[in-house]
């Protein structure tokens, strides 16, 4: 543990210039690009009275889209926890041929535009696609079903868990494990009782990031989901459909619900990341 002396700092004079210029630019940009459009959306949604708003956002069809979106995002993010934990572990614990390439390739889903991912996944999982042809005889259909949504969400948010867990695993002191092992814990017990609890905040942060991204995903999903109302229609698509019908009030009402969910998640993620950061700093 390092003890920092309570240094008496002279009140920092601003040696560096540009405070007004850079902060002014930043505030202007944030106000014009982010806050003004946000306010316009809220204003549009609040032009509806309470009961009308409620009727739109709790209509049968809207509720079905929340169910589809939330359940698919949950399954996709759980898969990513497994995938992410495995990859982060392998990348930090073993030296093998191709490790650096694997480390770079993990980010492919972030680099590949979502429309390309959706197009490609829809083809891979169709009846005669590279993957679909093996699943079809087993009676498993992915393309144009709810599972297609899961696949698209899992792909587009795959790197999140890897990238949140990896730095924590790298910083983990080997002494901890060695101590556990020398005290007689087997590898499985060491992982479950010593390592996993330390990884949990980072894993949860990764899960939340993946979940948030999945809730907002649109491009990849519309290619591979059947887009059938009540069955494989996600909330973002319902917003698009209402816009195409020029029903701006309904579109913005549903958009506000999606926005509210996203901001609540952002808050959760910030709290989780603060916790996992605290762990890193303590170590």
């Amino acid at each position: 543990m390092s003890v920092s002396l309570p240094l008496i700092r002279p009140r920092a004079k601003r040696v560096l210039p540009g405070f007004g210029l850079t902060l002014g630019t930043t505030l202007l940009f944030v106000a014009l690009v982010m806050l003004l459009p946000l306010a316009a959306l809220l204003a549009q949604a609040s032009s509806l009275d309470g009961p009308a708003f409620w009727a739109i956002v709790t209509s049968e069809r809207a509720l079905a889209t929340y169910r589809v979106t939330l359940s698919a995002a949950l399954v996709a993010s759980l898969f990513n926890c497994f995938f992410g934990l495995l990859l982060a572990w392998v990348l930090t614990r073993y030296d093998f041929f191709g490790r650096t390439v694997l480390d770079s390739v993990v980010d492919m889903p972030f680099a590949l535009p979502t429309a390309v991912a959706g197009l490609s996944l829809a083809t891979l999982f169709s009846h005669n696609g590279w993957i679909g042809q093996w699943l079809a005889p087993l009676g498993i259909e992915v393309a144009y079903t709810w599972w297609g949504i899961v696949v698209a969400m899992a792909f587009t948010s795959a790197p999140f868990v890897v990238r949140s867990v990896q730095p924590v695993l790298e910083d983990l002191e080997p002494e901890l494990e060695e101590a556990a092992m020398s005290l007689g814990a087997g590898p499985v017990n060491t992982f479950l009782r010593v390592i996993f609890p330390l990884l949990l905040p980072a894993l949860m942060a990764g899960f939340a990031l993946s979940f948030a991204r999945s809730l907002g995903e649109f491009g990849a999903i519309i290619f591979i989901a059947g887009n059938i109302p009540y069955e494989t229609e996600i909330s973002a698509l319902l917003i698009m459909i209402r816009l195409e019908e020029y029903d701006y009030a309904a579109a913005s009402a549903i958009a506000v619900v999606v926005l509210g969910a996203a901001l609540a998640l952002l808050l959760t993620i910030n709290l989780l990341q603060a916790r996992s950061l605290r762990y890193l700093q303590r170590g």
Partner: protein, 287 residues
């Protein structure tokens, strides 16, 4: 991410674990990565060339596709420099000065990352569309920003705005401002300090952010879909064009257009890896 303290390192494998566990885990990780990450990428090229080079070339040289490519390049050429300036300004303000509300500002800067792109598009439509405040006001002067190239550029700026700031803030925070203060004390002007001290120091982290920003700007789909109006040969970007071709049952054409963006992804990954490596090295040298 370009966080300087994430140098790649491996611990020795736990002594008691059998080597087979390690091999099994590595094999599983590689197999899953190929299946989940690489197969979708490879399929793009396989499909794009499934009917030969000539069909591929014809698809790419179709006027609508060429127009979509041009619009995508234009949108990125505007959005990326704008967000680079914003990112540098925001990072300078946040990492070099103390002021109240800094945390809140940082949260606001990150907001576009957590808003669904479709919702982002709706926000702009509600502001600049026919019914919006700004839209009505601009309408008096016969200016229509939605369903036009301007709208595409504006939402692209929104969606990609945090990338540069996000990379620079932790990097500049970790670097501290001693060198810049020294330059100032020795008599350099503010701009001289920025150009000759700050910029060389943050170069690779900046490039890293720009690369990610560009990749997203060229690949954005949801937000652009809302405000573009999907006018073929006019307001269609490359990602939107892919969907249009797919709906026309022109899968080969869609994959040909998609292959360009898949190439962009490879270039992005390679440049990103180089930039990350250089940023880390520059940081280690400086620190």
């Amino acid at each position: 991410m370009a966080l300087p303290d994430q140098a790649p390192q491996t611990h020795a494998p736990p002594r008691h674990a059998s080597p087979w566990v390690g091999r099994l885990l590595i094999a599983l990780a590689l197999a899953l990565t190929v299946l989940v990450v690489l197969l979708p990428f490879a399929a793009v090229f396989a499909q794009a060339f499934s009917r030969g080079w000539t069909v591929y070339a014809e698809n790419l040289l179709h006027p609508d596709t060429l127009h979509a490519i041009r619009l995508t390049l234009i949108a990125a050429a505007i959005a990326v420099p704008v967000n680079t300036l914003f990112g540098v300004a925001a990072a300078w303000a946040i990492t070099r000065f103390r002021f109240p509300g800094k945390r809140v500002l940082q949260t606001f800067i990150d907001i576009p990352f957590s808003i669904s792109p479709v919702v982002a598009g709706v926000m702009y439509l509600m502001l600049y569309g026919g019914q919006g405040w700004a839209g009505q006001w601009l309408g008096q002067y016969d200016i229509q920003l939605m369903f036009s190239v301007a709208g595409v550029v504006m939402v692209t700026i929104f969606v990609t705005s945090p990338f540069v700031a996000r990379e620079l803030i932790p990097y500049m925070q970790a670097q501290g401002s001693e060198e810049e203060e020294a330059a100032r004390v020795l008599g350099a002007s503010g701009w001289q300090t920025f150009w000759h001290v700050t910029l060389p120091n943050i170069k690779w982290a900046l490039i890293y952010g720009v690369i990610l920003c560009n990749a997203r700007a060229m690949g954005e789909f949801g937000a652009v879909a809302v405000v573009s109006g999907n006018i073929r040969g006019e307001t269609n970007t490359l990602p939107l064009h892919i969907e249009l071709l797919y709906q026309d049952y022109n899968a080969t054409g869609a994959f040909a257009a998609a292959s360009l963006l898949a190439l962009l992804a490879v270039v992005t990954l390679v440049l990103k890896t180089v930039a990350e490596w250089r940023a880390r090295r520059a940081f280690a040298r400086g620190g």
